[in-house]
């Protein structure tokens, strides 16, 4: 096991926060939920840092394994609690425009997120790994158990679906 002394948690956080957050954001319904899940990921990572073994896997793969489990836990809990009106309220709160979101770039992000809602869970997961985590098709195939060419096809179809959604968006 890698000695915790050799790992600077602040450095790990700075290097990987954006990728982890992007991956999570692709898969969950709101910014508030993404904040919640991302904080759970880094809390768990800090708790288990002493168990991390750099000989088994690079730190990024270890973090994404934690992130995948945290997202799955969130989605499972959400399925059970989806009847609660609070879910709707969180969604609204997370979607409230902040002043800086008036910018064009932000609008573009919001459109993408809106279009993502119409994809199924598998498509969102593959897009999250590809564009959120920045993984190669081969790495995604290795993680999901699907073939590399199959991943390419899923990606293309998901992007085409997004494209048609964005084209019809008001």
């Amino acid at each position: 096991m890698t000695s915790p002394g050799k790992l600077d948690f602040g450095e790990i956080y700075d290097l990987h926060f954006a990728k982890i957050y992007n991956y999570v954001r692709y898969r969950v319904e709101s910014a508030a939920a993404a904040d919640d899940v991302a904080s759970r990921v880094f809390e768990r990572a800090l708790d288990r840092l002493e168990t991390f073994d750099s000989r088994k896997a690079p730190i990024e793969a270890w973090l994404f394994a934690i992130a995948r489990n945290a997202v799955n836990d969130h989605l499972r809990a959400k399925r059970w609690l989806s009847w609660l009106p609070i879910d709707f309220l969180i969604e609204k709160a997370g979607g409230d425009p902040r002043p800086e979101e008036i910018l064009m770039e932000t609008e573009s992000r919001r459109e993408i997120l809106e279009a993502l809602r119409h994809l199924d869970e598998r498509e969102r997961n593959v897009l999250a790994l590809k564009f959120g985590a920045g993984m190669t098709n081969r790495a995604i195939a290795g993680q999901s158990g699907l073939g590399e060419s199959h991943i390419g096809v899923i990606l293309y179809r998901a992007v085409k679906k997004l494209q048609s959604r964005l084209a019809t968006a008001p």
Partner: protein, 190 residues
């Protein structure tokens, strides 16, 4: 993005490729409202944990272990030394039970042999850990308790020998007897 750009599907569809590039460039993390505060909180926790002396953590671990051991004895006695429930007592007085497979067979009239054996009386060593209020140290208190396993007696039958254990109202029989080959594969049903 290289594998996207080189893929057959995307290379033939410039609009899809443009969107894929846009997705790759989009950073949602700028919307995060916790990035800085979470970092500060986790680093504070890291520092707090590192500042705790190893002796403190060892003492904490030992305290938890001592608590678990102290609870072991009383909890074990709760689960093992329960009084017989009135329902069970009623059932056993109303209908003496035998071991199920044996009960299906007609009871043998077995002559009692002069030798009567008693099952060994088991001695179960037990140790209870207690926290001494005076010294604060862990002290042990050994308990020696004898308990009956069962009483057994050897009886002889036509084809062999059997040992009978009578425990409360239930009789258990362990028989040794010669059987024929056809009996070996006989399936007995209740």
């Amino acid at each position: 993005m290289n594998d996207i750009e080189n893929s057959r599907e995307f290379s033939q569809d410039p609009k899809a490729l443009r969107l894929a590039r846009k997705l790759a460039d989009t950073d949602f993390s700028v919307e995060s409202g916790i990035r800085a505060s979470l970092r500060a909180r986790l680093l504070r926790e890291t520092r707090a944990s590192a500042s705790r002396p190893p002796l403190f953590r060892l003492a904490l671990g030992l305290s938890l272990a001592a608590l678990a051991l102290a609870l072991r004895g009383p909890l074990q006695s709760v689960f093992t030394a329960r009084p017989a429930s009135p329902l069970l007592a009623h059932r056993s007085s109303a209908r003496p039970r035998t071991a199920p497979l044996v009960a299906a067979r007609p009871r043998l009239k077995l002559p009692v042999l002069p030798g009567r054996i008693e099952a060994r009386r088991g001695k179960r060593p037990e140790t209870v850990f207690q926290l001494s209020s005076a010294s604060g140290l862990i002290v042990t208190r050994p308990i020696e308790r004898l308990f009956d396993v069962a009483r057994g007696r050897i009886v002889s039958s036509e084809n062999g020998q059997a040992t009978l254990w009578e425990f409360r109202d239930v009789t258990y029989i362990l028989k040794t007897e010669k059987i024929s080959l056809s009996e070996l594969f006989q399936i007995r049903t209740l």
